[in-house]
Structure formats: structure tokens, C-alpha cells
């Protein structure tokens, strides 16, 4: 076991240890400190991993390690990361200290329980991305649900019971079908190779041999879980509820990482395991994504609950992410992965801002709180910044990914992307997809400026009874709160100004995935042509 593997293990073990410490040893007043220190310490091995990762071979699993766990099931404790997973792990780990910092004032009761589960969630998120074993992935994938469920159920606001139940049942029902699809793939591959294996790389390698019908069913099963998680229209209704009711930290993690499990799942499993079916149904998936972009965006525009607005904006934004995946080309995948990494920064930032406001005024209703720029200029400045990042202003995080996702829609139409031009290989989407998805840009400006215009600008409105909830309200953001925002701000700028570093890092795996799809589609087309030729030869098809 090499040094790096130990570091990778530490990313999961440290939070678990901290959770045990908080739950069984520590006192409630120490819970926050233990969680903060642990989440900060966890950053160190993560930085070590980033440094020792061989980015020039980003498509290969690195820091790989395997331990047989349940050999009868073929289940191994097998971990390792490629560059996409590595970056997502880095994001999850970096969000840790931020959400802990942001929770200090928001969580006053049951602190032991809160921070312990937060730490468990932290470990589970790393586990999802670090798994090289299908069942292990699935176990972690489901295991993220439990801490999140508890965070919403115990620490949420008024409607938390319904929100947590819907969140849990909806996503869990979907992912049961995902499990069925995965089991079928494992079974299929075992009939092909004679070996019962859960190794993702092996499965990916052989799954393309399934017939189109089989692939379609597998795709449907996989998407049942992942589309709910993303969430893709029309499977999104749990998200606004969960986001609205969750505590701030929960919303940030939900937006930052948990939603990405859906798109990551599509990228890592749905596409490689059912490439031909995905190619076949990509336009339909893209249409759902675009409906989501426009539909959720317009719904944002008429919200009065500011947190619900931001929650729906996530649905809208993630539409771009799925659109990029449906384009099935390099720019689409790159843009989509970039979106997975960057979306959580701006939306997470917005959730933090709303959380800070909520701590002061105990309302999220924009009819009761408005014009806060004159009362809290620093808060308003950050709010405008994150809103602009969310709008997709160039130079900030949303822009490069949005550009790539929209370009990919053009490129994936062979007629428009003339042969020989970069990125052209097949036809799934086309210019109209880009045009309709592009209206999302305008709609995003509409609802975000509507939000900023109400909550930050205009005459000051404050709820009448605020300030009677215990501690006195500080005027503006405190140093602790600003500290939790600075990394997100820096991240937004970094993603906006230096996306090339990330694009280079994910270039290899993205190209590998595109090649895999291209290869499967071409080989299936070749065999179809063979069939067509036979039919013509028989005179059945004039």
C-alpha cells in the first residue's frame, strides 16, 4: 500500500474517525471545533494527492488499491481515481471546512449529531468518487442519502419532514432501478467473459457488446436513478423542497456535490455501459435537459422564496450539464465536467448568502426582506458576485462550461460542423438545441437580476419582528462568514480565468470516453449496414 493510497484512505477515514469522536467522546461544545479541525486536516492529504497525481495519464486509475471483501459477490474494496474523480474529490473535500464554518451559528441544538453526520457525509462523498468497484460505488452512492436525510429531517426548517421523506424515497426508488440495471450489466459481462466481476473498467470494456434493446433497458434503469439525482426534468420536484428545507450546509453540499453524483453517474456509467442506446436517445435526453433549463428558469422568475429560487436555478443549470453529456463529443463532455466542478461554487455561494441572511432575519420571503444593500453592503457585494457567477458572466466560473456545452450542441450535428472541423463525428443534437438552451442565458439573467434587484436593491424592507430570536443581529457579515466565502469567491475566479488547467486535466479521460462511444456507434452502424446490405440483396428494400 503506497503512501498515496493511504492518503486517499485518509480522506475517508479521517471524517469517519471525527464522526465517531464527536458522537461518542466529545462534548457538544467541542463538536464544531473537532469538525472544523478535521475538515481542515483532511485538505492536506487531498493536496498531497493533487500534487502526486500523474495528470498526463488522467484516464488511468491511479492510487489503485484493492481488498477482497465479499468474494462470493465479487465485491472488492477497490479504490482508485482517474482525473475526473480526483477533481471531484478535491471539490468535495474543499467544501468541507466551508460548510462547517457556515454552520457555527446556524446549528445550536443537537450539535454532536449534526457535525457527526456531516463528517459521515463527507466521507461518503469521497467514497463515491474513489470507488473502482460497481457495488462499492453503489453502496457509497446510497450511503450519501442517510446523512443528508438526517441533516434535513432533524435540522431543516418548517416543512422538513415532508422534504426529507420525499428526498429519501424519490432518490432511493430511482436508484433501486439503477442497481437492477447494474446487476444486469454484471450478469451480461459474466456471460461474456465467464468471470463474475464488479470491476468498473472491465464492465465498461465489455458492456458495449449488449444488443441495442438490452442497452436501452440498461440505460433506462441507470437513468432512473441518475436522472432523479441530477435532477432532470420532470424528476426534479424533490430538489426545491429538499434545498429549501435543508440547513445551509446541507444545501451547499447538495448543490455542490450530491447533484453531481447524477451527472457523474451518467458520465461514468450510463454512457459507457450503454453507448449505443445513449447515442440513440441523446436527442430525447437533451430535449428534457432543455425543457428543464427553460421551465425551471421561468419558475425561478416567479418565486418569492429566495431559497426556492436558487434551488430551481440548480435544475436549470444542471440542464446545461446534461446537454453537454448528450452531445457526446469532447467539448460537451469537457464542458459538462467543468460544470460539475464549478456549478457548486456559485450556487453554493448563493446558498451560503441566503443562509447568512436567514440567520439574521429568519425569513426567506423576498416580500418581507428587501433592499439589504444599504444595511449589509458586504453581504450585498458577495450576493451580486455570486449571482453574476451564476448568470454565467465571462471571467467567472459558469462561463467556460456554458460555452463548451452550447458549442457541443452545434458540433454534434454533422451537417453544421463540417467534416474536418474539430469535434465533429456524429449527429445527436444540432443548432436548434443550442438556440433553445441558449435562451437559458437570458432567463438566468432575468431571474437572478430579479432576485438581486429585490433582495439587495431598492428601499430597505425588514421583517417587523426580527431580532427577537435570541442573540443580537450583527449588521454585516462577520469575519468567520467572510472566511467561508473567500474560498468560493477565489474558486469562481479560478474556474473563470484558468479553466485550461482543468480542461487539460480531464482531456485524456474525456477523449477516451468519446472514443469509446464513437467506436461502439461505428461498429453498430457497420453491422447495421451489413444487415441493410443483406436486405437489399434480398430485394426486400428497393
Amino acid at each position: 500500500m503506497s503512501m498515496e493510497v493511504i492518503q486517499l484512505g485518509l480522506l475517508m477515514d479521517l471524517p469517519i474517525l471525527a464522526a465517531l469522536l464527536i458522537a461518542f467522546v466529545g462534548k457538544p461544545k467541542n463538536a464544531y471545533k473537532i469538525a472544523l479541525i478535521t475538515s481542515l486536516i483532511t485538505v492536506l492529504p487531498m493536496l498531497g494527492l493533487l500534487a502526486s497525481f500523474d495528470w498526463s495519464h488522467g484516464d488511468q486509475y491511479q492510487f489503485a488499491w484493492s481488498l477482497s471483501w465479499l468474494p462470493d459477490l465479487g465485491l472488492n474494496l477497490s479504490i482508485g481515481v482517474d482525473s475526473v474523480a480526483m477533481l471531484l474529490i478535491a471539490l468535495s473535500v474543499l467544501l468541507g471546512p466551508i460548510v462547517v464554518l457556515a454552520s457555527k451559528r446556524a446549528i445550536i441544538e443537537n450539535r454532536k449529531m449534526y457535525y457527526a453526520w456531516l463528517m459521515v457525509l463527507q466521507a461518503a462523498m469521497v467514497g463515491v468518487f474513489a470507488s473502482r468497484d460497481l457495488l462499492l460505488f453503489y453502496i457509497f452512492f446510497e450511503f450519501t442519502l442517510l446523512p443528508m436525510f438526517i441533516l434535513i429531517r432533524v435540522f431543516g426548517s418548517t416543512n422538513r419532514v415532508a422534504a426529507s421523506m420525499k428526498f429519501f424515497l424519490y432518490t432511493f426508488t430511482g436508484s433501486m432501478m439503477t442497481l437492477a440495471g447494474m446487476v444486469y450489466v454484471v450478469y451480461f459481462v459474466s456471460t461474456q467473459t465467464g468471470v463474475w466481476t464488479l470491476d468498473i473498467a472491465t464492465l465498461t470494456h465489455h458492456a458495449g457488446a449488449m444488443s441495442l434493446t438490452e442497452q436501452t433497458w440498461v440505460l433506462a434503469a441507470l437513468l432512473a436513478g441518475f436522472a432523479v439525482k441530477v435532477p432532470l426534468f420532470p424528476f426534479h420536484t424533490w430538489l426545491p423542497l429538499a434545498h429549501t428545507e435543508a440547513p445551509t450546509a446541507g444545501s451547499v453540499i447538495l448543490a455542490g456535490v450530491l447533484l453531481k453524483l447524477g451527472t457523474y453517474g451518467i458520465y461514468r456509467f450510463a454512457i459507457p455501459l450503454a453507448p449505443n442506446a445513449f447515442y440513440e436517445y441523446a436527442p430525447a435526453i437533451a430535449v428534457l435537459a432543455i425543457i428543464g433549463i427553460i421551465y425551471a428558469g421561468l419558475i425561478c422568475w416567479v418565486q418569492t422564496d429566495i431559497k426556492k429560487l436558487v434551488a430551481y436555478s440548480s435544475v436549470s443549470h444542471l440542464g446545461f450539464c446534461v446537454l453537454g453529456l448528450a452531445a457526446l463529443n469532447v467539448s460537451g463532455f469537457s464542458g459538462s465536467i467543468l460544470y460539475m466542478l464549478s456549478h457548486g461554487l456559485s450556487t453554493g455561494g448563493l446558498f451560503l448568502m441566503i443562509g447568512f441572511m436567514y440567520e439574521r432575519y429568519h425569513t426567506r420571503d423576498m416580500r418581507q426582506v428587501a433592499g439589504l444593500a444599504s444595511k449589509m453592503p458586504v453581504w450585498a457585494t458577495f450576493m451580486v458576485f455570486f449571482a453574476m457567477a451564476s448568470v454565467g458572466l465571462p471571467g467567472l466560473n459558469g462561463f467556460p462550461s456554458e460555452v463548451l456545452c452550447l458549442i457541443s450542441a452545434f458540433q454534434s450535428d454533422a451537417a453544421w460542423s463540417a467534416a474536418g472541423e474539430p469535434g465533429a463525428w456524429g449527429s445527436t443534437l444540432g443548432p436548434w438545441f443550442a438556440v433553445f438552451a441558449g435562451t437559458g442565458m437570458v432567463i438566468a439573467a432575468m431571474y437572478l437580476l430579479y432576485m438581486v434587484g429585490k433582495i439587495c436593491f431598492g428601499p430597505l424592507v425588514e421583517p417587523k419582528d426580527h431580532g427577537h430570536h435570541g442573540d443580537p443581529i450583527p449588521k454585516d457579515l462577520t469575519a468567520r462568514e467572510i472566511t467561508s466565502l473567500v474560498p468560493l469567491t477565489a474558486g469562481c475566479l479560478f474556474f473563470g480565468l484558468q479553466p485550461t488547467i482543468l480542461l487539460d486535466a480531464i482531456e485524456k479521460p474525456v477523449n477516451a470516453t468519446v472514443n469509446l462511444v464513437e467506436h461502439s456507434v461505428e461498429s453498430m452502424n457497420a453491422s447495421n449496414e451489413q444487415t441493410d446490405f443483406n436486405i437489399i440483396a434480398e430485394g426486400a428494400n428497393p
Binding site: I299, G371, W416, Q498, P499, T500, L503
Partner: protein, 770 residues
């Protein structure tokens, strides 16, 4: 003025196609050159100090943000900004003087790079410098410096956080504008484009407690975003079709060169539709940013911002970004069959429409706003009529005189407590301390009205109108533009005759105590003696200080001095601007056009070489320019006289034909009544805002509400229904759990019996079958 290096002079005099020859001096045969060569030549790397131009204003942004954070309460932000911008302007000047004729790029850092096998999409943070860039940057940085100086005084009521915030956004604006103009690829242009939009949003909404300002800012951003969508799609399509985003590569792209060659002989059917779509999409972006019909509605509302912002962003620089975009991408527009005619017509329609609205407004800043829209229409008409030179020249002169007009109006607004109604002000020029404002305003008005020979606005406008008459099939545009010129002269001097001359009268506006800081209670820093007691005794106007006067004087001088530009290089390129444009992509011509152009050169010089070139028409038996000098000159003077008659005061101040004796009443009132509802409709902007609201905004809002309910009831309802089904089933079978143990036992026994029966039946059947 312009130090031409010997090589450049030879180049300029011998070139048929400047870009072809830059790369390949042996390209004697223009046909061969067009199809083979790198049109922009080998674009070298420029000196790194060019980076100072965008990054100094950015430094200003950062410094001002720091000042705001540490709570600076002095004029330091203004002086920092003015200083940095002055250095940026000096750097631009040295960039201009050291420019040796070949475009170059300066690389700051890598931005977005995606690799597709052996190809890639590259959009770096780099800057592309050619003469078009230099032309734009000269007036952007120059005017920004001057207007920052003006603002140092104008914004002084807000010293403190507001002051820092203002100059912070100001610096960010200049940075964004530099990126827009100097960016070496389309995504950099887009970055600047959105960046100026952001700054415009922040600065229009500067008085953020005023709901109308917030609404105007939002409207500006969103309407611009609609245009930006077109621009973005155009950019993506450019990349998808031509495989590059970088100007240097794009304008040497063989495909594009081929299309241009096709377009020059009118063979548009040989050009694929995708390529033709690019220009149409980019055009939408230009319409949004440059406030053209139907996306002009944000600009008049943008006057909610502080006046320096209106002058810099909404008159001189940002709104010309659309013109710049089309000029920069001119080759792409040339290959689109319908793009340039559309641009010409939209420009003309906008010019006429905005002028008619401008005539009926009473708010002097709004009149200036509509005149900006109208003048931008001229520039677009110029672009559409293939005179990029005319358009660029008009951009330049307009930048000077419109900034001047806005700043003069701003001085009035500042001095009279926010009063902008021309019915409530009169004889301002005669008040103590207002002389410079009066004189410079007159110069600005003369330029906007286009009085012949003595104003630079006349030369630039004339160039565009003349082009309309020599371009076959476009004389109707020419006539419309002439009518607009007369209307322009009328409404411009209407302002002058009402506000600046005549009997002295001033009613203060409603922003007495908290002028320009509507609710910044704690930042309020007014001299109580100056504005106090306005209710009881007299109101004391607040005469402009030295900074305002100096800036006004400089701009007035510049707008007169710009006449000289029309005479530099006149024979060769129709003026200095022509020579600047000629040496850039905006003057990208296929050899065919050039040949035709040269063949015709002897007969008329007003022709830049239209596609499908024909010999220029004579207008009224004269050379087009001479005719236009006569017609527009007479038209302009006629407009001024009409304004003098209807609005001018009695006596010499009203050119002896005016008859106004008090501020609020004039001869026009009676005339207006005769027109019935029409003046009222024009005053209400032909209800365009209301129509947009009724047919676009309101239905969309309703639709959104419908979606919201649909989401709650149908989409979420279905989910809840699925959740409800198990519950329903449970409800059905719940009574069976009675709690009576015997009941359970009976049920169980009954179940066993049923099972037994089933098993027996099955066994028997199986036995029977066997």
C-alpha cells in the same frame, strides 16, 4: 498627426488588399493572393507594455474596492482612477505612435483551451492590435480619463463608499471595454461585451435605493442579454464553421477568403447557409449593445445612472461596441447576403424612430439618450452601406460631441438639483458661472445638428448619407437619413433655445438635499449653506467647478478639432479615420471589389466598394458628396431655424425669429395641440415599452406562473400520487388488523386452507394432465 513609417507609406499607397500584401509582398496577382495567402499576415507578438492598457484600469478597480473596504472618505478614488486612466491613455498613444503597420498580438495568459485530437479551440487572454483597435482605444481611454476627471467633481456628494463604488465600477468598465476592443479572439470580445454590460448594470443601478434605477439597470442587462444570446450563438457557430475563434486565424481562413471572393461577384449561393447565419446572429448582439430597433428600449431608461456614466458608457463608448463588432467582423458580414442590408435598414429605422421620440421629450437627458440611439442608427446605416469609414468616423466624432452634450446636461442637472425638465429651466448660459457650460453646449449642439463645415459631426454624417445615394437601391435610406438629420437639428436646438438662452429662470429639481445620493444618509456630505432653505427663499444653483469646466472645454475643442481628421489622408482614404479603417479587417476587400473600386476611382471618391459594385450615381447632377454638403447643410440650418422659431426666445438670442418670453411656454405648444394625440404618443415613446410589456413580458410572466402551478400540481402531483398509492393500498387493508388475536388466527387458518386447496387443485390437475 500621424507619423507614417516609410514602409507603411509605400504599403498604403501600393496596396490593393492591405492584408494580402502584408504577408506576401509577391502577391502581385490579387486573385491568387485571395485564395491562398494569410490575409492578416504573420501576426507577430507585440510589446508586453500594451497589457498596461487593460490592466491599469483593472488595477483601479481593485484599488477602489480596497478603498471601499477600508472606508476611505476622500477624493483618493477619483485621483487614482484619473491617474491610472491617464497612463492607460498615454500607453495607447504610444501604441499608436509605435505601430508599424502590421497587426500583432500580446499574450497575457492562457484562458480556455480544449483539444480535439490534433485540433483545438483556443481562446487565450490575449490582445490583438491593429489600426481599428488603436482607433477605438484612443477615444475609449481618452474619454474615460476626461470623464473620470469630470466625475471626480460630479460625484463628490457621495464621497465615501458610494464614491469608491462608482470609481471601482468605472475602472472595471474601462478594463472590460479594453478587452472587448483589444481581445484577440471572439470569446475575449464576449468577455468584454458582458463585462461592459455588468458595469453598465452596476452603474445604472448606482442609486440602488431608487426602484426606477434598479428597474432600469435590470432592463438594460436583460435586453442586452437577448442580444448577447445572438452574439454568443454567432461566436459558437463561427468556431464550429471556421474552426477558430482567433481573429488572426479567422481572417486568414481559406474558407472565409473563398466566401469573400464569391460574395464579391454576388455569388451568394456558393456560400453555405451556416456561414451566412453567423453574421445574422452577430448582428443581433450588435443591435442589443448598440441600442438598435427593436432592442433600443433599455438605453433611454439607462439615464437613471449618474451623468458621467451616461456620457461614457451610454453615449461615447459602450454603445459603439456593436459598431465595432460589425466593423471587426466585416468580412463575415460581407459573405452574408442579407446581413448588411438588414443592418442598413434597421439602422435607418432606428434613426428615424428615435428622432421622432426625441422631438417630443421634455427631459433633456432623455432627449440626448434618444439622439444617441438615433446617431447609432446612422452608424449602423453606414456599416450596412459598406462605408465602415463613415461609420467609424461618426463613432469618433459622436463620442466627442455626445459626451460633451451629456456632460453639459449633467452639469445643469448637478447645479439645479436634478432638474432636467426643459420647461422649468431657461437662460442657464447667462447665469453666473455657467458661461463655459453654455458655450460648450452650443458647440455640442452644432455638432449633433451637423452644421456644415464648422462641425465634425457634419463631416461624418455626410459621409454616411452620401454613401446611401451612391449605393444602388438605397437612396430611400438616404432620404430618410436626411429627414432624420433635419429632425435632429430641430430637437437638439430645441433644448438649447429652451434651456440655455432666453430669460433666466430655474426651478430646482426634487433632489435638493440628497442630490445624487437619494438615500445615502450616512454618506451625505452636502454643504448646507449652498442648498439650504430652498423652500422658503431663493434657490441657489450650484455652478460647475474647474474639473467640469476643463473637461467640457477639452471636449468642445476636440469636437471642433476633429474636423481636421476629415482632411488628413483625404484623397486616399477619406480622412484619417479612413486610413485607420483601411488598414484593418474592417476594410477587408476581395480583389474583385478592389479592381472595380479602382476602375471607378476617377469618377467618385465616396465609394468604398460595395458588393455588386456599379458606377456611382450622380445626385442632382453633382458628385454625391457635394450634393450632400448642400442638402444636409441646408437641412441642418433649416432644422435650427425651425427650433429657433418655435422655441427660441425673443430677440437676438432666438435669431430674431423666436418669441418665447417665459420658461414653460413657447409657440410649439399651440402647434402641438393641432396634431392631436400624436405629440403625446411620441412623448410616450410610441408606447413601445407598453407594447413590449403587453406582448412579451406580461404573457411570459403569466406563463411562468402557469408553469409554477403546473410544477406544483401536475409534475409534483404525479410524484405524490406515486407516493400515495402504497398509502391507499394500506388504507384499504388496514381494517383487517383489528387487534383481535382470534381474528388473526382465523385469517391464518383460512389462508392455510386456501393454500391447501390451491396446492391440491394444482397437484390434481398436474396428475390429471399426466
Amino acid at each position: 498627426m500621424i507619423q507614417l513609417t516609410p514602409q507603411l507609406t509605400t504599403l498604403l499607397s501600393t496596396l490593393t488588399n492591405p492584408m494580402v500584401a502584408l504577408s506576401d509582398p509577391a502577391a502581385a496577382d490579387p486573385h491568387a493572393a485571395a485564395t491562398t495567402a494569410h490575409a492578416v499576415g504573420e501576426v507577430g507578438h507585440g510589446p508586453a507594455w500594451v497589457l498596461l492598457i487593460p490592466f491599469l484600469p483593472l488595477l483601479g478597480f481593485v484599488l477602489n474596492a480596497i478603498y471601499a473596504a477600508i472606508g476611505n472618505k476622500s477624493k483618493l478614488p477619483a485621483w487614482t482612477t484619473v491617474g491610472l486612466l491617464a497612463v492607460a491613455f498615454a500607453t495607447t498613444l504610444s501604441m499608436f505612435l509605435s505601430y508599424d503597420g502590421s497587426p500583432y498580438t500580446v499574450h497575457a495568459f492562457d484562458w480556455i483551451q480544449v483539444h480535439f485530437g490534433d485540433k483545438s479551440m483556443i481562446a487565450d487572454f490575449s490582445f490583438y492590435v491593429d489600426k481599428l483597435t488603436i482607433l477605438w482605444m484612443l477615444f475609449v481611454t481618452g474619454l474615460a480619463t476626461l470623464i473620470a476627471l469630470y466625475a471626480s467633481e460630479y460625484m463628490s456628494n457621495d464621497i465615501g463608499t458610494g464614491y469608491c463604488r462608482f470609481f471601482s465600477a468605472f475602472g472595471l468598465f474601462v478594463f472590460s471595454m479594453s478587452c472587448l476592443v483589444m481581445g484577440d479572439n471572439l470569446l475575449m470580445l464576449y468577455l468584454g461585451w458582458e463585462g461592459v454590460g455588468l458595469c453598465s448594470y452596476l452603474l445604472i443601478g448606482y442609486f440602488y435605493k431608487k426602484p426606477s434605477a434598479v428597474a432600469a439597470a435590470k432592463k438594460a442587462f436583460i435586453v442586452n442579454r437577448i442580444g448577447d444570446l445572438g452574439l454568443a450563438l454567432g461566436i459558437y457557430l463561427t468556431f464550429v464553421h471556421f474552426g477558430t475563434l482567433e481573429f488572426a486565424e479567422l481572417f486568414s481562413n481559406e474558407k472565409l477568403m473563398g466566401y469573400v471572393a464569391d460574395a464579391s461577384v454576388g455569388n451568394f449561393s456558393a456560400i453555405p447557409g451556416q456561414a451566412q447565419w453567423i453574421a445574422l446572429l452577430l448582428m443581433i448582439g450588435a443591435f442589443g449593445k448598440s441600442a438598435q430597433f427593436p432592442l433600443y428600449v433599455w438605453l433611454p431608461d439607462a439615464m437613471e445612472g449618474p451623468t458621467p456614466v451616461s456620457a461614457l458608457i451610454h453615449a461615447a463608448t459602450m454603445v459603439t461596441a456593436g459598431v465595432y463588432l460589425i466593423a471587426r467582423m466585416y468580412p463575415v458580414f460581407l459573405v452574408s447576403e442579407f446581413a448588411l442590408p438588414t443592418v442598413a435598414w434597421i439602422g435607418t429605422i432606428t434613426a428615424v424612430l428615435a428622432a421622432t421620440i426625441g422631438m417630443a421629450q421634455f427631459d433633456i437627458k432623455r432627449i440626448m439618450a434618444y439622439s444617441t440611439v438615433s446617431q447609432l442608427g446612422y452608424m449602423f446605416a453606414g456599416l450596412g452601406l459598406l462605408t465602415t469609414t463613415g461609420a467609424a468616423f461618426h463613432v469618433l466624432t459622436h463620442a466627442f460631441f455626445k459626451a460633451l452634450l451629456f456632460l453639459a446636461c449633467g452639469a445643469v442637472m448637478h447645479g439645479f438639483a436634478g432638474q432636467l425638465d426643459l420647461r422649468k429651466l431657461s437662460g442657464v448660459a447667462w447665469m453666473k458661472g455657467w458661461g463655459i457650460v453654455g458655450v460648450t453646449m452650443l458647440i455640442g449642439c452644432m455638432n449633433l445638428a451637423g452644421l456644415p463645415y464648422i462641425t465634425s459631426g457634419f463631416y461624418s454624417k455626410d459621409m454616411i448619407i452620401a454613401e446611401a445615394f451612391v449605393t444602388p437601391g438605397y437612396s430611400i435610406i438616404g432620404w430618410l437619413l436626411i429627414v432624420t438629420a433635419i429632425l435632429t437639428a430641430y430637437y437638439t436646438f430645441r433644448v438649447y433655445f429652451r434651456v440655455f438662452v432666453g430669460p433666466q429662470h430655474a426651478e430646482p429639481g426634487n433632489e435638493h438635499h440628497d442630490h445624487d445620493d437619494h438615500a445615502h444618509g450616512e454618506e451625505h456630505n452636502h454643504d448646507a449653506g449652498q442648498h439650504g432653505d430652498h423652500h422658503s427663499s431663493g434657490f441657489h444653483p450650484h455652478a460647475p467647478g474647474w474639473a467640469v469646466n476643463v473637461v467640457l472645454a477639452v471636449l468642445a475643442f476636440a469636437s471642433i478639432a476633429a474636423i481636421s481628421l476629415a482632411y488628413i489622408d483625404k484623397a486616399e482614404h477619406h480622412g484619417w479615420v479612413g486610413s485607420m479603417v483601411h488598414d484593418s479587417t474592417a476594410y477587408f476587400h476581395s480583389p474583385y471589389v478592389e479592381q472595380a473600386h479602382h476602375a471607378a476611382e476617377g469618377t467618385a471618391h465616396a465609394v468604398d466598394g460595395p458588393v455588386g459594385f456599379k458606377a456611382p450615381k450622380a445626385v442632382f447632377g453633382m458628385d454625391a458628396h457635394t450634393a450632400m454638403i448642400l442638402i444636409t447643410g441646408i437641412g441642418g440650418i433649416f432644422g435650427v431655424l425651425v427650433a429657433a422659431f418655435f422655441h427660441g426666445p425673443k430677440g437676438w438670442q432666438g435669431l430674431f425669429i423666436g418669441g418665447r418670453t417665459e420658461a414653460a411656454k413657447c409657440r410649439m405648444d399651440a402647434v402641438a395641440r393641432r396634431f392631436g394625440p400624436i405629440p403625446k404618443m411620441a412623448e410616450n415613446k410610441w408606447y413601445v415599452d407598453e407594447i413590449y410589456h403587453a406582448i412579451l413580458v406580461a404573457p411570459l410572466r403569466v406563463f411562468s406562473h402557469v408553469l409554477h402551478w403546473l410544477d406544483k400540481l401536475l409534475v409534483d402531483g404525479l410524484v405524490n400520487l406515486f407516493g400515495f398509492l402504497p398509502r391507499l393500498f394500506a388504507w384499504v387493508i388496514r381494517p383487517s388488523q383489528s387487534g383481535v388475536l382470534q381474528g388473526y388466527a382465523v385469517n391464518m387458518a383460512g389462508g392455510v386452507v386456501i393454500l391447501l386447496v390451491v396446492v391440491i387443485v394444482v397437484v390434481l390437475r398436474a396428475g390429471g394432465a399426466a
